[in-house]
Amino acid sequence: MSTSTNLLELREVTKIFSSGFLISRKRIIAVDEVSFALPGDKPIVFTLAGESGSGKTTIARIVLGFLHPDKGEVLYFGRNIFSFKKSELKNYYREVQAVFQDPYSVYNPIYTVDHVLYTTIKKYNIAQDDYEARELIDKALTSVGLRADEVLGKYPYQLSGGQRQRLLFARCLLLRPKLIVADEPVSMLDASLRAGILNLILDLKDKYGISFLYITHDLSTANYISDYLAIIYRGSIVEMGPIDKILQDPLHPYTKLLIDSIPKPDPNKRWRTKVALPPREFVAEEIIGCKFYDRCPYRMDICYRKKPSIKQIDSRIVYCHLYK
């Protein structure tokens, strides 16, 4: 698959956050040479799953052009987005939109929620006049299961978390994007409302052909909606491939531990084995080899000395010294 047809491709993207002043510099590698790609031919949901602090939100910010990587490239249909001029970036946003995690901080509290809808329409002038704008908005709201009179003219605090998240999807729909970066869209919602948003993502993919880069820490939601899965741990991808294959037969020790540790809502299928928590967790920048060394049951001394390289096994990729 030639790179130019890939909807989105990351090549060895690296981001290092440093704090302190000249001599007292402290450097934390938040994203460590991450590469993955979303195919451009058919809409898919690609999940990037990892613990909090694993760098997944930093990657989302880089893909959206808010953060510049220290190394590597982000290609949109083969063109590096960081070489875009201002107007090109605006067109990029026309096709790549986003939905965020915290329904309470994603709306500017001093405006009614209409502000986000009208600003988008005005800035991308996709409507000739008020009437057409309102029509577009009504259509977008209904396709995300909201009624205009229930939502428009209200301030954010007057809407529930679920309504606010749905409205964000409606805003994206106005621009008919090709890709929506969904950064933990349901993690702040209760289980009962979560199902509605997950179904909405599935519908938008099927009905409007929109691809999703779904960022989450919760694998069971990923299993429900996504086609591909990449597991990220302390800034590095450890395993990547079709989700069903990974969930049924995980290769990387961290993926195994992760899948086995997800609590199952069934009292008869309780955890059989115990997991030992490390007596002291190492700080990220002290590690040269594999980052999972201190918690890995299969660790070897090569894992401590050398970072594992990429290994292709049928349609999957894994970074682990177990697989030569």
């Binding site: 509605g196 179904n199 820490h217 299993n223 809502p265 115990k274 030992a276 928590l277």
Partner: protein, 319 residues
């Protein structure tokens, strides 16, 4: 008498500009000795308020309106300041959700645990206490040197284990854990949950576990109580409640949890939780309930005994 803690008609409201918010509105619940009781419910259903009321930690604008909390025959709500102080941590210890700043940021871990010991057993020799504390830390899988460290030097998972070690320090009869693993990653969460289970098995400590995550209840609790909009809708043995949920809300709650390996269409719950400043009349779930009947809109169903160890508050079963 195998009941350790008995909550009777507990009511806790919060003062707001638009009138009192009825966070906990007449809750009856008892916790049996040596069991793990789960308290489930979605955000803002009142479970944290209930737990804080039991420990009398409600701060303004919250206030306790009425009801009793009986522990070994003493009503904690009416107990004297001193009597309450003696019971706290000696008999009932508490693991809060925000492990981020549940520990005093400027004090070493060892000193914070010594504080607890000295508050209940008087002065202790530092060397002896330190040895005991290191044992406690090892029991929760932490290295001994953690005793001399400060909270900001520990990860979230380590901090939560320190709090658990502290909870075990005086070998209490009851540990109340309020969302102990919400802020943690999945693997650490599993470790903590298994640790709590072992504590209950090894020391016979009763555990009241509060969390919105039904899957965690399925993993660890013996009995479970479902809470919604300030009231208890259903209580029962965990495997019974999961296999045959009675109350419509419980049924919908369980069916809206995504399961690994199944792609079956999820069913959420339409609408959203009521505003507890003026809750809907009758059953508080009726606006969102698929089986709503006329009676549900008028009369509030009381928590009735359905069969052994099973209670439900729903007109479907009250005929």
């Amino acid at each position: 008498m195998d009941t350790l803690l008995d909550i009777k008609d507990l009511q806790v409201f919060y003062k707001t500009e638009l009138g009192p918010l009825r966070a906990v509105d007449g809750v009856n619940l008892n916790v049996k000795r040596k069991e793990i009781l789960g308290l489930a419910g979605e955000s803002a259903c009142g479970k944290t308020t209930l737990v804080q009321a039991v420990l009398k930690l409600i701060k303004p604008p919250g206030y306790i309106v009425g009801g009793e909390v009986l522990f070994n025959g003493i009503n904690l709500l009416k107990a004297s300041e001193n009597k309450l102080r003696q019971i706290r941590w000696k008999e009932i210890s508490y693991i809060p959700q925000s492990s981020m700043n549940a520990l005093n940021p400027v004090m070493k871990i060892a000193n914070q645990i010594i504080d607890v010991i000295e508050a209940h057993e008087g002065k202790v020799r530092k060397r002896e206490a330190l040895h005991y504390i290191e044992e406690l830390l090892v029991k929760v899988g932490l290295s001994r040197e953690v005793a001399k460290m400060y909270p900001h030097e520990l990860s979230g998972g380590m901090r939560q284990r320190v709090v658990i070690a502290m909870a075990l320090a005086l070998n209490p009869k009851l540990i109340i854990a309020d969302e102990p693993t919400t802020a943690l990653d999945v693997v650490t969460q599993r470790g903590i949950i298994q640790m709590l289970k072992d504590i209950n098995k090894d020391f016979g400590t009763t555990l009241l576990l509060v969390t919105h995550d039904m899957a965690i209840h399925a993993e660890i609790t013996d009995r479970i109580a479902i809470m919604y909009a300030g009231k208890i809708l259903e209580i029962g043995l965990t495997n019974k409640v999961f296999s045959e949920p009675l109350h419509p809300y419980t049924r919908l709650l369980i069916s809206s949890i995504p399961r690994l390996g199944s792609k079956q269409r999820l069913v959420g719950i339409s609408g959203f939780p009521p505003d507890l400043r003026d809750p809907p009349p009758g059953c508080r779930f009726h606006p969102r309930c698929p089986f709503v009947m006329d009676i549900c809109r008028k009369i509030e169903p009381s928590l009735l005994k359905f069969d052994l160890e099973r209670f439900v508050a729903c007109h479907l079963y009250s005929r």
